[in-house]
Amino acid sequence: MDIKILFLILVPLATAFLIPFIDLINAKLRRFFVLLGILLESYLIISIIVNNFQSLKNGDFFLQYYLGGWHPPIGISLAMDGLSLLFTVITALSLFLIVIYSIGYIGHHEGKYYVLYFLIAAASMGSILTADMFNIYVFIEMLTITSGALIGFKRGKEASAAAIKYLIYNVLAGLLFFLGVLLIYFNLGTLNMADISQNFGSLESGIQLFISAIFLTAILIKMGIFPFLFWLPKSYDTAPSPVTAVLSGILSKVYLYIFIRVFWTVIGFETLQALNLNILLLDLALLSSFFGHVFALQSNNIKRLLGYSSIGHIGMITAVIMLNTEAGFYGGLLHIISHMFMKAGLFVACGYLLQYTRSHAYNDFKGVGIRNPSVFIAFIALLLSMIGMPPLLGFASKWYVLMAFLEARSYFGAFIVIFGSLTAVIYYLRYIAKGFEEVRLTEDDLKEEIYSRPLLSVLYREKIVSFITYAYTAIIIGFGLGFRFFDLPLKMSIDSIMNVERYIELILGG
């Protein structure tokens, strides 16, 4: 019974609802209020970690909270074990950095932006912490609607088209998820995850296949695996860059968490194995990674390219997790962490670099490296870590992912990883070269460029924007050298995935 978990969700929710009132008092206060909200959030997490550091040490970390005091089979409960702690920490860190970035970046309708932003924060915290199936559905729908609105934030033809496409896909997925939850309820009579996983085995295989198929389609659409990767690149392209940072950094990781939670704790991996679905999923994920990298090759729009490359990486992570081996989880989770930082960092840097270019197209990227050299160097460092250069974080995670594939004897997977990093070298270098190209700004170019577009960010905010990029590069390099630091949390989250019985016994027993 630990109230702190509830507050983790309530704090961003409260900030989201209080911002319009703060606007009424005076707009200047809003920025500090937002900072206050996110600082409170991170304080909560730190206090959680500090308080039960001992239980973290000896590995049996578990927190629980029953909404309204009702005990599990009836009431809705929040549970936090090793895995969700890990995800909460990295999401909160990323949210913290992106909020500071968006303070510097967003110029218009700041109020609306922060409301939506904190709703996403609350929803992602919620979906990580809940132990109740319907509760996950509610938070997923919350995520869809708010991110849909944020994608359409820039009110252009492109942005609204992307938002429509995004919403159609994700609402459909949400509907399927809702159908799955209902099916579970009607067959098992309960909505609590632990309860479901306890007697999911008792169902006969036809119903099991139907339910897991429905859940699978819903979550794969959300994660952007192969057959459903169409909405992802376009929405990354048109959304403002802090939103893309959130989408690619946090949202895709939350959906991955839901994927693990649903298919390992709720439905249980044995049922998947019984239905031989895990082989299909493994190959599908690898195929999606292959397509992601190949499509990235041909895209001549930097943000869309990063979108494709994140499809590639997400595919690779799901494939590694599908291996269901100890090393597989270790590599997968480490790659989730490193990919989150790298991708968020890249989009943040992109936002800064593309401020003054006419459009995101490839030949408008010309001369960007020369105009703002220091940020471009951070950008290159992040790209190099995506490729897997040794001193950076990307290398360590790629090393473990590759080891996992080799140990599991799936040489196709190893090939895809290598293929990915080789193609990454090609398409990233193309942009780095373009960035460094001399651009002879003729007289009218300059004039036309400065007065044509509304100045998104005010000058004094430039410092914060570039500062965040350096923060991300520092994280990459710092953790790159010291990635052993992740050993403890990764070990904890792996065993929380692996032995589901402990999870069930803790929730129901408690």
Binding site: F134, V138, E141, T144, I145, G148, A149, G152, R155, G156, K157, E158, S160, A161, A162, A163, I164, K165, L167, I168, V171, L172, G174, L175, F178, L179, V181, L182, Y185, F186, L191, K234
Partner: protein, 111 residues
């Protein structure tokens, strides 16, 4: 069995509108139709002819419908409405810029 059949028919109709029709608003209507089909299926499934599950003081009530699916449907309806509202505003926005809401003319939707 009857309610499953109606559910499938309605669901397929909605899906047909969503996928095959080129008019965006028709797609949104199709989407709502699918959601309505699911809600209808839930309620019909959980109706066992019992009382409304509101507890009157002092009264002894033996048989009442299970309140949980009803709660789920309520939330579902709320979510369906908000998504429809968001989609429609975005379609209006698109129309303002490109002048059409026909999916074929809109190139941006395809790539």
């Amino acid at each position: 069995m009857f309610n499953n059949l109606i559910f499938i028919i309605l669901f397929m109709l909605g899906f047909y509108a969503l996928v095959m029709k080129t008019n965006l608003i028709k797609n949104v209507i199709g989407l709502n139709l699918m959601e309505a089909a699911v809600f209808f299926w839930v309620i019909s499934f959980s109706d066992i002819g019992g009382e409304v599950s509101i507890h009157k003081l002092g009264e002894e009530v033996t048989k009442f419908n299970d309140p949980v699916p009803q709660a789920l449907t309520l939330t579902g309806i709320v979510i369906g409405a908000s998504t429809a509202a968001l989609l429609l505003t975005l379609i209006m926005e698109l129309n303002k810029f490109s002048g059409t809401i026909d999916r074929d003319q809109l190139e941006e939707l395809n790539d």
